[in-house]
Amino acid sequence: MSITSAVVLAAGEGTRLRPLTRNRPKPMLPAGNRPILEYVCDALVEAGIERLVVVVGYKRDRVQDGLGHSYRDVPVEYVVQEKQLGSGHALLQAREAVAGPVVVVNGDRVIEASTVRATLAAYHEECAASLAVVANEDAGRYGAVELHDGRITELVEKPANDDYRLINGGVYAFGGSVFEELAATPRTDGSLPLTDTVARLIDDGEVRGARVDGTWADATYPWDLLTVAREVLGDGMVSGVQRHPGEWVAESATVHEDATLVAPAVVGPDCEVGAGAVVGPYVALGRNATVEANATVQTSVVDADTRVGAGSVLVDAVTGQNVRVGAGAVVPGGPGDVVVGDQVFPDQRLGAVVADRARLGGGSRCDPGTLVGTGARVGTGVVASGHVAEGAEVVR
């Protein structure tokens, strides 16, 4: 039988992506210049899904505003996970909203329609579930799997050794009994990860695996958004009119004739790019972003409503929404050491992460690896480094 409903899990914050998740959950962060969640929904709709049930929780208004009541003519319904007690618990909230076999996907990773189709093709009524299997060199960050003759034989969460090359891609097809299985799965510290239930299904029944090689991109840390942007730009998974190969400009955007786009680059709707500005390569400008005259933006993600001041330089930067980069401010780019909590990530290629509504004053500079919190202000001419707390003001 054909599966036409999908549950999208979009309730979790994605705490390791702070400070970018201060105002929205991870699925609403940009892959290039569109929310990750839109890529997920595109894949589902293109694979023939006719009904989307989205599980929302953390900052759910942003998901609801983003998708609305229908996405590409497919109706969208919402169920709320009040407390974020794991992905299995999230799926359980959709119990009343779906019946029969269903596709389940994580809303926070970029996937392609072919991945959904392959997962659906691998599912049949006698098996308990199917899931997409992706080759990934960072298996230690994810759920590693063993696949034999199309059948999943083992699922290990975040394995400590390097023996694994295949991971669980977070795209599933389940039979209608999955909700009973979820309810029957013992909780770990009150939490219910979906993979605990999948592990039980592997032990008690048959779980099929579909080996897929379509685009699969995930961000664990804020600087991973640069890699995700690189993937979607590199794969041409970008909307807008392609003016020249690798240069996508939305119809409603204005690019001054004396500005330069360096492919690949995408300029979102309502953007304005001033005279003498250089944008690219590997740059994504979100909706209504402004790059003023003579600014230079390279290998960066500039999110919606952000204003990059005249003559400023952004290299390897990730900005949130509504950020102000003052005239002549400089983010010279990585590599640098990034400190998150008590963890140090050495030599990351990161200029700076500048969270929503933060301001870099005119002529200021960010040392490589700087994290600027939501609404923080880096004063005129200041050199910022390390972590600037939310709302803080750095003065000379």
Binding site: V63, D65, L67, H69, S70, T254, D270, E272, D356
Partner: protein, 598 residues
């Protein structure tokens, strides 16, 4: 002020009608009913007072009527109380003819007297019921059905949108005069409704009927004729927006959803109209409009506050402009001379505003409609139209459409002034992100909780913030049913200050640090001295926060966009205050979305 949906050519007539009613019930909601006909010698009617759920329950109880032609109605009383009898559809005593009607039949008493004198008995107190009686009388005289319907329509005077089903006839009839009626066109199926959302689920092809037009619809096609009976070719329009936008998308209320939609609706309003690089504003639809010497803005309700905002903005740019209540303007129209008369109406169907625009046109004025609704009466009757592009709004309390009115009128003021508008355009382009910032960080819920149960709520502002104060109070009273008033800050000491006590919170809207802000801070001190709690809605540029008990913060920006941001905070305060009181927020008592009666 009612909603009509009718259809012909569907096999699931009842489902189409019920779905249509649920999409239309924002227009009024004190009773609803359906009638299905086609075959048989009677039309089947089920109608109930109260909300749509009552009708649904009745249909479940009585067995679903069937038929290939159906008419349905959701009513908001103008003649007679909301009872089962007064609910539409209305029929003749034999049940051969079913009629739904939106508007007022002015000569109904005389027609009814004549019919009663001829021995006919009436079942309801409504003006509408004369129509099925007239048609039945003509059928009794042996007139063919279409002729009988036509004669009845010719006999009535007043404002109406009518849909009529007759037993044993597979056609649907519609007529329009001063009340909206739209035809939806699909393969082998047709719809007539007072508004597009009622059938948008089924088709995006529409034709708008004009005043005095009459339409006959069968499963095979339709014909439209004018008042003289001459056939009229109707252009088809494609409706672009999505029917599902009418859904709540996970929000408890449409109002909250629409408050949160503002960043998006403001982007739509600005899209393609501003160019910061060149500092220019382009309003394509105003091509050919000459720069006027002076402006009269006419409007009612929330739209009136947008008109006050626009008039203030224009006057400060040196353009003589005044805002008027539309109903007063129609009653005592000032000399229009060389004025451009701008009607601000979200629906484009507000009877008072249409009346004012018609009065101005009779005196030779050029008119401009500022509206959200493509193809609305205001858009079709005025010489020019400025669209606000806010998308459909379902909550009775206007929120996103007010914000879009402010921005559209702000664009209009920049368009009138040929100067370099780079700074203002930058401020407008910053606005969607700043509205999002207010939505993300608002403390409105906390403020609503703190002042829950106060005696009254006052709102003050000066200059561009004066209409914000008026709108803040209107929103508050509409949905909380609490006493709320907005005042010009400077007017407080001339009277209203007597109302201020320690149990009447005063919301003061203060933006910038100019002379107006300083004076409003002075008014805040007057209020403080009377021990009233003060909530400052401010960007922090002045020292208003120092004299306030609570602060609702907005980002610092240009005064014209600061007004929009302050309004968002006050929308949220009203919403949360109403929510705490358990009010039916999307459908406050006694109010309807689109006020199509004068």
């Amino acid at each position: 002020m009612c909603g009509i949906i009718a259809t012909v050519g569907r096999s699931d007539t009842l489902d189409v009608l019920m779905n249509g009613l649920s999409m239309l019930d924002y227009r009024g909601y004190d009773s609803a009913g359906v009638a299905l006909g086609g075959g048989g010698d009677r039309v089947e009617v089920v109608k109930r007072a109260g909300k749509l759920e009552n009708l649904r329950a009745a249909l479940d109880g009585e067995g679903a009527p069937e038929g290939a032609v159906g008419v349905a109605h959701t009513r908001w009383s103008t003649h007679g109380p909301p009872t089962d009898e007064n609910a539409h559809p209305h029929t003749d005593p034999e049940g051969r003819v079913a009629v739904v009607h939106n508007g007022i039949i002015e000569n109904y008493q005389r027609l009814r007297d004549d019919l009663e004198a001829a021995g006919q008995e009436f079942a309801s107190d409504t003006d509408t019921e004369v129509v099925p009686h007239l048609i039945a009388a003509a059928l009794d005289r042996g007139e063919p059905v279409e002729q009988a319907v036509r004669q009845a329509v010719d006999a009535i005077e007043g404002s109406y949108a009518l849909c009529i089903a007759v037993a044993g006839d597979d056609r649907l009839y519609g007529a329009r005069n001063d009340s909206p009626l739209v035809l939806g066109i699909d393969d082998g199926a047709y719809y007539l409704a007072s508004d597009v959302p009622a059938f948008r689920k089924h088709t995006d092809q529409v034709a708008f009927l004009e005043e005095g037009e009459f339409v006959t619809v069968s499963p095979d096609g339709y014909t439209v004729t004018d008042g003289a009976g001459e056939p009229v070719e109707k252009p088809h329009h494609t409706v672009e927006w999505d029917p599902e936008e009418a859904g709540k998308a996970g929000y408890d209320h449409f109002m909250l959803k629409e408050i949160h939609e503002q960043p998006r609706s403001l982007r739509q309003c600005l899209q393609g109209r501003v160019d910061e690089l060149s500092g220019s504003v382009e309003l394509e639809e105003l091509e050919g409009l000459e720069r006027p010497e002076q402006l009269h803005l006419v409007a009612a309700g929330t739209s009136y506050h947008a008109a006050v905002y626009a008039a203030t903005l224009l006057r400060s740019a040196g353009v003589p402009a005044q805002a008027f209540y539309a109903h007063e303007y129609a009653a005592t129209t000032p000399p229009v001379e060389d004025a451009l008369v701008v009607g601000v109406t979200q629906s484009g169907e507000t009877a008072d505003t249409l009346g004012a625009l018609r009065a101005a046109r009779r005196r030779g004025a050029t008119t401009l409609a500022c509206t959200n609704t493509v193809g609305s009466t205001a858009a079709r009757e005025c010489d020019h139209t400025l669209y606000i592009h806010a998308g459909p709004e379902i909550g009775v309390a206007a929120t996103k459409t007010f914000a879009s009115q402010l921005v559209a009128l702000s664009l209009f003021s920049l368009w009138l002034d040929d100067g370099d508008a780079r700074e203002q355009i930058a401020a407008l382009r910053d606005l969607p992100g700043q509205v999002q910032a207010v939505l993300d960080d608002s403390r409105a819920r906390e403020i609503a909780e703190t002042y829950h149960g106060s005696d009254a709520y006052f709102f003050i502002g000066r200059g561009l913030n004066y209409p914000v104060a008026l709108e803040g109070a209107l929103k508050f009273k509409e949905i909380t049913y609490e006493h709320a008033e907005g005042f010009a800050a400077g007017e407080l000491k001339h009277g209203p200050l007597a109302l201020v006590t320690e149990n009447t919170p005063v919301f003061a809207v203060v933006t910038g640090d100019g002379e107006q802000a300083r004076k409003t801070v002075g008014n805040v001190k007057e209020v403080e001295a009377r021990d009233a709690p003060v909530v400052a809605v401010t960007d922090g540029a002045s020292d208003a926060a120092r004299y306030a008990d609570h602060v609702l913060e907005i980002p610092e920006t240009d005064p014209r966009t600061g007004a929009v941001l302050a309004n968002v905070q006050l929308q949220l305060v009203a919403y949360h205050a109403a929510d705490l009181l358990g009010r039916p927020i999307d459908k406050p008592r006694n109010l309807a979305k689109s006020v199509t009666v004068e």
